[in-house]
Amino acid sequence: MRPAGASFLRALSAALFLIACALPGDYDIEDVAPTSHLGEPCEHDHGHGELQEAGHEHHDDAERQESTQTGMHVHEAGQRNHGTEWFFNQPWASPFIWPKMLRDSLVLAALAAVIALVSRRLTRRA
């Protein structure tokens, strides 16, 4: 490897470290989503004793009784609930994550420009 290559690799490592510091770990949608996106949590026994989210629909007492007996319950179609949160926690359904995508894109574009210029300069110097 040429000497310029070694110094370039050092510059590259520094740039990658800077990216890691620049982009905070705020991308997981379930971690950064506002309450309005997640829905209000409610305590509801789904047979596995966890805190679950709103959106359940118990139509009547008979159905509730049947649901309890079989361990099943009914949710309104197309709504966010404990079974569909993976679906609504995708980037297309989370507009609050889009500015972060734009921010990352701009950081990457700027870094690409810097790396291209630095590597060109180092190559010419060598």
Binding site: F8, D28, M101, D104, L111, A112, A116, S119, T123
Partner: protein, 251 residues
């Protein structure tokens, strides 16, 4: 720019003369035909299954195309001693990389568009409606394919072709994971895992098959944001690849 265009044209012609592109395209189309024969088990809206599996097949096709088209380009140029004369006079290293990438990207795009048209034909033949969002979703798949292509080029400059494919597949898999899932692979080194994950792309940004298959509306703005993200990541990986290529002593 004219140099890059001419070299991209040469690359495209070279790739079209190989059998790889036809083999992978035929596999994609056969998979789509097979998907259309998957029984619905009396579940309503069978078209949903065809769309879901079909778009997943196209995504895997983009990965196979990236590896099949680009993993051998640089090593073959180097072994056949074509690279040094090329770089000696007509091309700079940046021209070489951009020309090769542009040629391979165009061939990959043509194959993915053919696959998407195949999916549309399968839906139409089976009597299902073709969702209008399929066209922007296919364009997003093309951007994802270009990103994977840039990853293959990047690995190509410092690994052998047999190692390039598994590394690209590994990156494809781990880039689908959320930060939390990735860190949970090695909780003892959570800090290092977090840093590594932050350097990797969030490929779930390209996942658009679920809302389309379930009839959810995806705003056009999202397609634009995700495509911009993919293109910026592609540019970043290509630049890092170029920097590695520039640091290589080819003698």
């Amino acid at each position: 720019m004219r140099t890059i265009r001419a070299f991209a044209d040469m690359t495209m012609k070279m790739l079209l003369r190989r059998r790889t592109i036809y083999g992978i395209s035929i596999v994609i189309l056969l998979a789509l035909l097979g998907i259309s024969r998957v029984p619905s088990f009396d579940v309503g809206n069978e078209g949903r299954f065809i769309l879901d599996f079909g778009m997943f097949g196209l995504e895997i096709g983009a990965l196979l195309l990236a590896i099949g088209l680009a993993a051998n380009l640089y090593p073959r140029d180097r072994e056949s001693r074509v690279l040094l004369p090329l770089l000696a006079v007509p091309l700079s290293r940046a021209h070489y990389l951009l020309g090769r990438f542009a040629g391979a990207a165009l061939v990959q795009m043509a194959s993915l568009v053919a696959g998407c048209l195949g999916l549309v034909a399968v839906l139409a033949i089976n009597g299902y409606a073709v969702p209008p969002a399929l066209i922007p979703a296919a364009l997003l798949l093309v951007v994802e394919g270009w990103f994977l292509l840039s990853v293959v080029f990047f690995f190509g400059f410092w690994t052998s072709p047999p190692l390039n494919a598994p590394l690209t597949v590994l990156l494809f898999i781990i880039s689908q994971m959320s930060v939390r899932e990735f860190v949970s692979l090695l909780p003892a080194a959570s800090g290092a895992m977090k840093v590594i994950r932050l350097l990797l792309p969030h490929m779930d940004a390209f996942h658009i098959k679920d809302p389309i298959a379930h009839g959810e509306t995806v705003p056009l703005l999202y397609f634009a944001v995700a495509a911009f993200y993919g293109l910026c990541y592609t540019a970043f990986i290509l630049t890092v690849g170029l920097a590695v290529f520039r640091s290589r002593d080819l003698r």
